[in-house]
C-alpha cells in the first residue's frame, strides 16, 4: 500500500501477530468483511431465498413429509385464505393507528416543549425514555394487570370517578386492537419525542428569529418553517412506524390476545406465525411472507424517493 512504508519501517514489538503476510494484499478487505457477510447471507438471505422456494410448495414442516409442488396456487389463493381478509385490514389499522402516537404526538410535544431548560430536559429525557428499555413481554404483563377488567387500577379509577362498568380492554372485540396500539405507542412515544427534539436542536435559530422579526405568528413559524425543516425526520419516523408497526405488535398480540377475540387483533405477521407453527401450512405462510416482503419493500422505496426529493431542506 505505501511503498515508503517499507523503507522507513522500524522494528517494533508487536502486540499482535502480523496477519497480512500469507495472502495477497488485495484479499485483505474481503477477510475483514467476511465473518459479518457470512452471518448475514447464511441467516437472512439464504432463508429468504428458501422461503421464496417454499412458497411454491405444499408442506407441513415434517422432515419426513414430502414437499408437493403446487406452482402459484399458494399465491392465487392467498386472499381467500382463512382470516386473511381480517388480518390485512387489521394490519392497516395497526399501521395507521400507531402514527398519532409514534409521529404526530411526539412531534407536537417536541415543538411545544422546545423552550425547556437544559437541566430539566435531561431529567425528562431519562424518564420519558424508560419504556423503551422494557421487554415486550414485561410490557404486556404490566398492561394486562393495569387494564384488568375488575382489579386493574385503570378500571378501579374509572369506577371510582365515573362509576363506569368495568371496561374489558382485551376481551372486547372493538377495544382490543386499540388497547394493543396504545401499548405499542406507550413504548415508542418517548423515544420518538427525543428523536424529534434532537432534530429540532439541529435547526438553525436564525431562521426562527428572522421569521419572528418579520412578524410571523407562532403557528406560521411552525407551519412554514419548522415542519418543512423537520420533514426528513417526519418521513423517516413515518416510514419506520408503518413498516414496523406489525412487527412491534406481534409480542403483545401473542401474549395478550392470541389474535382474539374472534380475530379482532390478528395481523398479517401473527397470521404467518399461525400458519407456520400452529397449522403447519408452510406454503401459505411462505407465500404470504413473500407478498409482505415485496409490499413493504415497495413502500420503503416510495419513502426513500420522497425523502431524497425533500433532502434539500437539510441544509
Amino acid at each position: 500500500m505505501s511503498p515508503s512504508g517499507a523503507v522507513y519501517a522500524r522494528t517494533r514489538t508487536r502486540l499482535l501477530p502480523r496477519l497480512n503476510i500469507a495472502w495477497p494484499r488485495r484479499l485483505e478487505p474481503y477477510l475483514y468483511v467476511l465473518p459479518a457477510v457470512i452471518a448475514i447471507v447464511f441467516w437472512i438471505y439464504r432463508p429468504l431465498a428458501q422461503t421464496f422456494e417454499l412458497s411454491f410448495y405444499e408442506w407441513n414442516l415434517l422432515p419426513t413429509a414430502p414437499k408437493v409442488w403446487v406452482g402459484l396456487q399458494n399465491y392465487s389463493r392467498i386472499f381467500s385464505l382463512p382470516d386473511m381478509g381480517v388480518a390485512l385490514r387489521n394490519t392497516f389499522v395497526y399501521m395507521l393507528g400507531l402514527l398519532p402516537l409514534s409521529v404526530l404526538l411526539p412531534m407536537a410535544i417536541a415543538i411545544v416543549t422546545d423552550n425547556i431548560g437544559k437541566r430539566a430536559r435531561t431529567i425528562y429525557r431519562a424518564l420519558v425514555f424508560l419504556p423503551m428499555m422494557m421487554a415486550p413481554v414485561v410490557v404486556a404483563v404490566i398492561w394486562r394487570w393495569i387494564l384488568h377488567p375488575t382489579n386493574g387500577i385503570v378500571n378501579l379509577v374509572l369506577e371510582g370517578l365515573f362509576s363506569l362498568e368495568p371496561v374489558r380492554f382485551f376481551s372486547d372485540g372493538n377495544l382490543a386492537i386499540w388497547a394493543i396500539i396504545f401499548i405499542t405507542g406507550w413504548k415508542l412515544t418517548g423515544l420518538s419525542t427525543l428523536v424529534f427534539s434532537a432534530a429540532l436542536t439541529n435547526i438553525s435559530r436564525e431562521y426562527l428569529e428572522a421569521a419572528s422579526i418579520d412578524g410571523a405568528s407562532r403557528w406560521q413559524i411552525v407551519r412554514y418553517i419548522l415542519i418543512p425543516l423537520l420533514s426528513p425526520t417526519i418521513l423517516f419516523m413515518t416510514m419506520l412506524s408503518l413498516l414496523l408497526a406489525s412487527q412491534w405488535t406481534f409480542a403483545y398480540i401473542n401474549v395478550l390476545t392470541q389474535g382474539g377475540p374472534l380475530g379482532s387483533t390478528t395481523n398479517i405477521y401473527y397470521l404467518l406465525w399461525n400458519y407456520g407453527f400452529q397449522s403447519f401450512a408452510i406454503g401459505w405462510s411462505s407465500a404470504a411472507a413473500m407478498l409482505m416482503f415485496v409490499g413493504f419493500g415497495v413502500l420503503a422505496l416510495v419513502f426513500l424517493r420522497l425523502s431524497s426529493r425533500l433532502a434539500f431542506y437539510d441544509n
Binding site: R12, E28, A36, I116, V138, V141, W145, Y269, W273
Partner: protein, 273 residues
C-alpha cells in the same frame, strides 16, 4: 434565544410531567404490586402498607428464575460480543478500502432491515433443527452473530475517524490489523461501548427467536419464562409482577448507571425495537 423560547416554560413542564408520569407509572406500578402482600394486591394504594418479598420467593420457586436469568445473561453477553467482533471487522473493511464488490456487499447490510423476521423464520427453524441446536444456547446465539444494524452504525463512526492517524500508522509500517488494534479501536472505545450496551439491551429483550428455538422452560430465556408463568398462573398478580420485576431489574440497573450513553445511542440510531 428564539421567539419560541421566549414563552415561559410552565406549560412545557406540565406537558412533560404528564408524559413522564404516563411513561413511568406502569413500571412503578409493577414494582409496587410486586411488593404488596396478598391482601393488599387489589387495593389502589400507591404504596404497600406492609411491603414484603413473599411474591419474589413464590415466583422464584415457581419457575427456574435463576437458571433463566443465567441463560439470558449468557445469551445476551455472547451475542453482543460476537456482533461487536463481526461488525468491527466489517465496518473497518468497508471504511478503509474500496474493493471490487464492496458496494454490493455493503448494500446487503443496508437491505436487511427490509427483510422481516417472518420471511426467514421457517427455513432458519429447519436449519436449526438439522444442526440439533433446538433448546441450546448455540441456537439462540449463532443465528444472531451478525448485526447489520451494528455494521451500518460503526461504518459511520469509522468513516469519521481521522485519516491522518491511520496514515501515520501505515508509515510506521503497521499492518492493517495492527492499525485496527493499536490506532483505531483505542480511540473509538466509547462509541463501541455504547453500541455494545445497545446490542445487549436488545438481546436481553429478545422474544421472537427464543420463542421458536426453546421449548423447555429450563433452557429458555427470561422473556419466555415470564410468558409461561403468565399462562400458568394468570391471576397471581403479585408473583407475576415479581417475576416481571426480576426480568427487568438487570436492564434497569444498566439504564440507571449509563442512561446518558443509552439514550444518545438509541436516538442517534433512530429507532430500534
Amino acid at each position: 434565544m428564539t421567539s419560541l423560547a421566549h414563552r415561559r416554560p410552565i406549560g412545557s413542564h406540565l406537558i412533560l410531567i404528564t408524559l413522564s408520569l404516563v411513561a413511568v407509572f406502569p413500571i412503578y406500578w409493577m414494582f409496587v404490586t410486586s411488593l404488596k402482600p396478598a391482601n393488599e394486591i387489589y387495593s389502589a394504594a400507591l404504596l404497600p402498607m406492609q411491603p414484603t418479598l413473599d411474591n419474589y420467593a413464590f415466583a422464584w420457586s415457581r419457575i427456574p428464575m435463576l437458571r433463566m436469568l443465567g441463560n439470558t445473561f449468557a445469551m445476551a453477553g455472547a451475542q453482543t460480543l460476537l456482533q461487536l467482533i463481526t461488525s468491527v471487522l466489517a465496518a473497518y473493511g468497508f471504511s478503509r478500502w474500496q474493493f471490487p464488490g464492496s458496494r454490493l456487499l455493503f448494500g446487503l447490510f443496508a437491505l436487511t432491515w427490509l427483510v422481516p423476521f417472518q420471511a426467514t423464520m421457517i427455513p432458519n427453524y429447519v436449519t436449526l433443527t438439522q444442526f440439533g441446536w433446538r433448546n441450546t444456547l448455540m441456537g439462540l446465539i449463532i443465528p444472531n452473530m451478525g448485526s447489520a444494524f451494528a455494521v451500518l452504525l460503526l461504518y459511520q463512526t469509522f468513516k469519521s475517524f481521522p485519516q491522518e492517524l491511520v496514515d501515520a500508522g501505515r508509515i510506521d509500517g503497521a499492518s492493517s490489523w495492527g492499525i485496527l488494534w493499536q490506532v483505531v479501536l483505542p480511540n473509538l472505545r466509547a462509541a463501541i461501548a455504547s453500541l455494545g450496551i445497545l446490542l445487549f439491551i436488545s438481546a436481553w429483550n429478545e422474544y421472537f427467536w427464543p420463542l421458536l428455538v426453546t421449548s423447555r422452560v429450563e433452557d429458555s430465556v427470561i422473556q419466555i419464562g415470564l410468558q409461561m408463568f403468565l399462562t400458568q398462573d394468570s391471576s397471581l398478580w403479585g408473583p407475576l409482577m415479581a417475576a416481571a420485576s426480576s426480568a427487568s431489574l438487570p436492564i434497569l440497573v444498566v439504564y440507571i448507571i449509563l442512561q446518558r450513553q443509552v439514550i444518545e445511542s438509541f436516538v442517534k440510531s433512530g429507532l430500534r425495537s
